[in-house]
Amino acid sequence: MRVPYSYLREQFADSEPILRDIKGLLESTQFTLGPPVAEFEERFARLCGARHAIGVGTGTDALFLSLKALGVAPGDEVITAADTFIATAGAIVQAGARPVFVDVLDDFNIDPGKIEAAITPRTKVLLPVHYAGQPAKMGPILEIARRHQLPVVEDACQAISAAIDGKLVSNFGVAAGFSLHPLKNLNVWGDGGVIVTNSSDMDATLRLLRNHGLRNRDEVEVFGYNCRLDSLQAIVGNHLIRDTEAITAARIQNALALDAGLAPLAPRVRVPKRLPNERHVFHLYMFEADDRDQLLAWLLEREIEAKIHYPVPLHLQPAGRGLGYKEGDFPVAERQAKRIITLPVHQHLRAAQVQFMIDCVAEFYHAR
């Protein structure tokens, strides 16, 4: 049974309503920061239960601009998790700062117990990642931030609608970055990102920075960037944002089925503990597995498109060499990099496909 990772074909089987609106845009030609962007920003802010949303070019830009709005500059350090998509660290480097990594917990998110040891006088921002859609431990993180008077920017690129005790991500830090990349839970037809903030100052600064620092057509307040969410992509977003809750619910349901099906395979399969007060939205369904590489090959052979997010931790990437880390610095992240595997969990999976994945994983371990 084929279990593909990408679901874009199914998601856009009927794209006529979106295409109709795009055709309207081509006729109106309000391509740059037009009404669809403002409408999408409003909807996005509402979905997050936050005051402001700013549409930008990418999730990477969302993090980069948030750091710049907080004044991050060369010589500064920004603390983040050791296992995340490269763009988290890339955005820090782009802002001129140095990424300082902290090891992670079994839920793949930054370990609050190890953050304080990483804080130096040069630390400017804490940048926890809600990795895979699992919210980071924001209670303890905010406590540390408060003690050290550091702003927190949430990397919520994979975590739209995730929550802790009913409080949605993006409402913990001073700003949060979201990605609208085609494979995200809320996606568009190309690159796109959103920054969410409850601070009017941040909102004003970010709106300047994303559009060349222009106060109006002729006056340049600060040197800025060109990082705008295209109106065309906002149109797609305006259609899809109506589905976000249903998509999230479907992913959670698939994840719970996988959890139940894989539980008997412990300890060879190690699914992170789920806490009832945390809403994990399962952008990725990740777990640790014995004999991971063989399991991956086994699943691929059975046309289950499993993946690894990611096999090489950031501090061991060629790009990370200049940071001076070495193997052994982040034992949990390093162990996980060798053991993690990601199964399809998207909203277009059928129950039979979920069961097939469980059966194949079980069969793999029973055969050994």
Binding site: S15, G57, H212, P318
Partner: protein, 371 residues
């Protein structure tokens, strides 16, 4: 004035997409496309490189990013200086600041272009690159600038954001400097349905660096070679660009014809109106048609009241912007640019202007000056 008021828009963007066949074609491709770095991006890059006579072209998120990536790929960073002009769109200086470097300005000549005679004064030991701007679609004097750059072994990055198709002699812009940056912003001669930009270069090494940098520094899905960025031309925009590119030569030819009409018709109004100077052997593509006008603001108001939309590119030079306060320039630093900023006005020159509309614009200008 006799006769009714005629509405002459500065640009008529909706007409770009009024051709049902073009819209149907792009819409059909949208349905089936791979949204991020789909094959249409590479196809458009290949076509664009050929248009520019360059070996390589890379699709990026914006023209600003194209300048920034050229600087980054050439190793420009904090502590470095990059020379450019103060009369450009702010993004030219913005890209330099984004790279961590300091913009150093050189005054312009009567053609609104970097004045090579003043370039030497701006050079310091920290100068790392020169960004001449082909403002209005008129190529900067790359022979004279190039001679100075070569002596100092400095790379030239062409800011060709407004100048696709322009040429000096047989050399097309985008093929002359170490790299060139183009914008695909909707109002450009080659515009898409959102943000987009192109970098061209003859250097394989620079090309490969930019290809890495635009996509998170990823060598492949799992290996990160260098710290990078996320700046990709959307596949959807590449599809639009490819469709629009078919009409580029016609758009350029029409703009050149419209400019020639103004040149002739406005010449008798000199010196109250100064039409853009020409130099032989140069192909200007007239992204904007900029004249200098006596009583500029009065003229604009008058034209506006008669239905003619005009613009100013740009009323405040970059060195006098609030953003530039830290750079330490004062009013008077660039007298030519400053004087021009008070006299320049951009007349509609777009490809959808009719001869009657152009004649109307000319007649109203004459009327304003009492001729």
């Amino acid at each position: 004035m006799t006769g009714p008021i005629m509405r002459v828009k500065y640009m008529d963007l909706p007409r770009q997409f009024e051709d049902g066949a073009v819209v149907a074609r792009v819409m059909d491709e949208f349905k089936r496309c791979q949204f991020v770095l789909g094959p249409q991006v590479a196809e458009f890059e290949g076509r664009f490189a050929r248009v520019c006579g360059a070996a390589h072209a890379v699709g990026l998120n914006s023209g600003t990013d194209a300048l920034f990536f050229a600087l980054r790929a050439l190793g420009v960073g904090p502590g470095d200086e990059v020379i450019t002009v103060p009369n450009s769109f702010v993004a030219t200086a913005g890209a330099i600041v984004m790279a961590g470097a300091t913009p150093v300005f050189v005054d312009v000549n009567a053609e609104y272009l970097m004045d090579p005679a003043r370039l030497a004064d701006a050079l310091t030991p920290r100068t790392r690159a020169i960004i001449p701007v082909h403002l209005t679609g008129n190529p900067a004097d790359l022979d004279a600038i190039g001679a100075i750059a070569t002596r100092r072994n400095l790379p030239i990055i062409e800011d060709a954001a407004q100048a696709v198709g322009a040429a000096i002699g047989g050399r097309v812009v985008g093929s002359i400097g170490a790299a060139a940056a183009f914008s695909l912003f909707p109002l450009k001669n080659l515009g898409v349905a959102g943000d987009g930009g192109m970098l061209t270069t003859g250097s394989r090494e620079l090309f490969e660096k930019v290809m890495l940098l635009r996509h998170h520094g990823l060598r492949n899905r799992d290996e990160v070679e260098v710290w990078g960025y996320n700046s990709r031309l959307d596949t959807i925009q590449a599809i639009v660009a490819d469709a629009v590119l078919d009409g580029l030569e016609a758009v350029t030819a029409t703009r050149i014809r419209n400019a020639a009409f103004y040149d002739r018709a406005l010449a008798p109004l000199a010196p109250r109106i100064v039409v853009p100077p020409r130099r032989p052997g140069v192909r200007q593509v007239f992204h904007t048609y900029v004249v200098q006008a006596e009583r500029r603001d009065g003229l604009r108001e008058f034209l506006d009241s008669r239905g003619v939309e005009t613009k100013i590119h740009y009323p405040i030079p970059i060195h006098l912007q609030k953003a530039a306060e830290g750079l330490g320039y004062k009013r008077g630093a660039f007298p030519v640019c400053e004087a021009q900023s008070e006299r320049i006005v951009s007349l509609p020159v777009h490809e959808y202007l009719t001869p009657a509309e152009q004649q109307y614009v000319v007649d109203r200008i004459r009327e304003f000056y009492g001729q």
